[in-house]
């Protein structure tokens, strides 16, 4: 009896799951497999049918292309720096918003605005603001006397990667802040009262109590943002185009696929990017002993 009940339950579970699995297989599984297969062929854009299997030639091509390795370095550097800054800023903003301020709801909504603007739009907007001659950023800095001549925010190799990261931080911080704030708000108040009674310093409370308690939620937020950052495309493409000093792996893959019409090479680059993202996600999820549901094991 027990067994049949369990069996029936399993059947019900599967019948609910099947539609989603089918949809996933169609919209995620099939394109992924096809991309991986194309990566081993010499397919050109527009003649996928006539392509031939060429083994690892595309990957050898990637491995010997300094522009590709520059893109890999750019992407990883971009992801590490921007996610670190976003996490720290997001935490600070969340802690501030968690106190009992007047008009907290309004501030919370205002903080979300950068996240709500489509990246292409905000990147284009920042592109204008960062223009060296008629941009508002240089106008303000010159007016305040911080700089003595206009800086080329989007042309100088070092400044342009810094600008791209800054724009991403502007956009990504609200996301981190909101997820952190959600975690902060469900923390039991008694712990803090107990800490106050014991006379523990606020700094110690933060590191010994708050941080460990919100760690699972924080890790989920970091994983989401990192996956986003590793496949970054729009903000970089809009601000600096195909410029190799800022191009990410996705920008490189797009250029191979569309501009050069090398379906095979582009697919190989996209597959490589997928592997890096998958490896990263596995490492973080295992190392953080983390369930993506947000509960520590």
């Amino acid at each position: 009896m027990m067994r049949t009940l369990a069996g029936r339950r399993a059947l019900t579970a599967w019948s609910f799951l099947t539609p989603m699995l089918v949809v996933l297989a169609l919209v995620a599984g099939w394109p992924l497999i096809r991309t991986i297969i194309l990566g081993f062929t010499d397919a050109g854009l527009g003649d996928f049918a006539e392509s031939q299997f060429i083994g690892l030639a595309n990957y050898r091509g990637l491995a010997s292309d300094p522009v590709w390795w520059r893109a890999v370095a750019n992407t990883i550097g971009f992801a590490v720096i921007s996610v670190t800054i976003e996490t720290i800023l997001g935490l600070i903003i969340a802690l501030t918003l968690n106190t009992h301020l007047k008009g907290r709801g309004l501030v919370r909504a205002a903080v979300l605005i950068p996240w709500a603007i489509p990246t292409v739009v905000s990147a284009r907007m920042w592109g204008w603001m960062l223009n060296d001659l008629y941009g508002v950023v240089n106008a303000v800095l010159l007016g305040l006397g911080v700089i003595d001549k206009p800086w080329a925010w989007l042309a100088d190799p070092v400044l342009s990667i810094a600008s791209v990261i800054a724009v991403d931080v502007w956009k990504g911080t609200p996301f981190m802040a909101l997820l952190t704030l959600a975690a902060l708000q469900v923390l039991p108040r008694e712990i803090y009262e107990a800490a106050r009674v014991d006379g523990v310093s606020p700094v110690k409370v933060f590191f010994q109590v708050t941080l460990p308690l919100i760690r699972p939620a924080l890790l989920v937020a970091i994983v989401f943002r990192s996956l986003d950052a590793l496949r970054v495309f729009d903000v970089i493409y809009v601000l600096t185009g195909d410029n190799p000093s800022t191009a990410s792996m996705s920008v490189y893959a797009r250029q191979q696929l569309i501009d050069f019409q090398q379906g095979g090479m582009g697919s190989a680059a996209a597959t490589f990017l997928f592997v890096i993202v998958a490896v990263f996600a596995t490492i973080v999820v295992t190392a953080g002993r983390l369930k993506v549901g947000g509960v520590a094991r």
Partner: protein
């Protein structure tokens, strides 16, 4: 044009279908660029043809960004779709798309082809096949501030050295102004600029007819090295991130004395709300030194092609010959400053007495072409390697000669 602005994706939107005659025979669909007023002009032209022939036309709108438009065309043509009969294509695309288009030689007798500029017909001919009919032509030009040059007693520059001297003189006298803005971002626009520097300095073209690289010669590398010296002196460092619109933004807001740009900027810098309206002049780009130095401009522009998969090729060809005919080209020139691809149209009174068009027809005599037809499908790859080398030189990473030597030498 060559803007790399990544605009929000516009997929196939059937814009409008016009019924002009109850006894319409067939429906021809045409995809035009939607940049600026191009769509409006294209619609009016196609509509007039429909009225005249009793057919119907359907307009298919496309992304304003040329690179996105190419991607859309490629996927449409790859699926052998008959949804679009006539394609508006950029001057560098014939080599890439040749296999998907009809050979127009069978429809247009050679005598009629002679009416178009020879460079354009040659550019659109791939392996003896006429891929597209030239529609309008673009070339890089030098825009300058008449008022500022007058104030300092200067003339429009004849050589690059003149331009440097003039820019420096105005920059010394005026506050907060840059000398020369152009397109220095690492993209197709920089190929156009670099080609102009090289050809104007007598450095020759980029590839020969066999697809061999010809640009690593002293005149060519000297031209790029000269441009390097502009950065931080007469050109702002930010110019290395500029495309057409950013250069125009700087120039039109009165922050630059000279600008290199395409003809489209002419109507805009003279628009009623432009701060520099009526203060701008236009001349051919300066030349370098050496015996072979010439005034030149990189060839741009658009052509019309007919899809191999079209269900109504005859009507489609008829439509493009109407659109690229002298009446329609004149109308487009007067209304939108689109430069005709037919030589005879420049002799029409409306154009002949206009300083802009007469300057332009002078540039056409020694126009510089990008090696798109020779390199064919490999053109974008060539362009990317070339751009990388030029951009690195401008950023001060080694000399032009060094950077050029890293480019593949054979492109056939």
């Amino acid at each position: 044009m060559l803007r790399t602005a990544s605009l929000i994706v516009a997929s196939l939107t059937l814009c409008a279908a016009f019924t002009s005659n109850a006894q319409a025979k067939v429906t021809v669909s045409i995809s035009c660029s939607s940049l600026g007023i191009e769509m409006e002009l294209c619609r009016d032209g196609a509509q007039a043809w429909a009225k005249q022939t009793g057919n119907e036309v359907k307009l298919v709108s496309t992304p304003a960004d040329a690179q996105e438009r190419l991607a859309l065309y490629q996927s449409l043509l790859a699926s052998k779709s008959d949804k679009v009969d006539v394609f508006q294509i950029d001057v560098v695309w014939p080599g890439i798309l040749a296999r998907q288009f009809l050979d127009l030689n069978q429809f247009i007798e050679p005598g009629k082809q002679d009416g178009y500029f020879q460079t354009l017909i040659a550019n659109n001919t791939v392996d003896g096949k006429l891929v597209a009919v030239p529609w309008f032509v673009d070339a890089g030009m030098l825009y300058y501030r008449k008022d500022l040059l007058d104030k300092y007693g200067l003339k429009a520059p004849e050589t690059w050295a003149d331009l440097e001297t003039a820019a420096k003189k105005v920059m010394e006298g005026e506050k907060g102004i840059e000398g020369y803005v152009w397109q220095g971002r690492a993209y197709e626009g920089l190929v156009c600029n670099a080609l102009e520097w090289i050809v104007s300095n007598g450095g020759g073209g980029l590839l020969d007819n066999a697809g061999k690289a010809t640009f690593n010669n002293p005149q060519a590398t000297a031209a790029i090295d000269r441009a390097k010296t502009w950065i931080g002196t007469i050109s702002p460092q930010g110019v290395l991130g500029y495309d057409e619109e950013q250069a125009r933004g700087a120039f039109q807001s009165g922050k630059a004395v000279f600008m290199r740009n395409w003809p489209y900027a002419w109507a805009l810098v003279n628009a009623p709300d432009s701060p520099i309206k009526d203060k701008v002049g236009v001349v051919p780009l300066p030349k370098g030194d050496g015996d072979k130095a010439v005034h030149t401009g990189t060839l741009g522009g658009q052509s019309l092609a007919v899809s191999k998969y079209s269900a109504h090729p005859k009507e489609a060809v008829d439509l493009i010959l109407y659109l690229a005919g002298s009446e329609e080209e004149k109308r487009r020139a007067v209304k939108g400053a689109f430069n005709p691809s037919l030589k005879s149209v420049y002799n029409e009174p409306e154009l002949k007495n206009d300083a802009f068009f007469s300057t332009f027809s002078k540039i056409l005599e020694s126009i510089a072409t990008r090696p798109a037809t020779v390199a064919g499908k490999g053109y974008n790859q060539f362009s990317s390697q070339f751009v990388r080398a030029v951009h690195a030189t401008l950023q001060g990473q080694s000399t032009a000669e060094d950077n050029f030597s890293s480019i593949r030498t054979s492109w056939k």
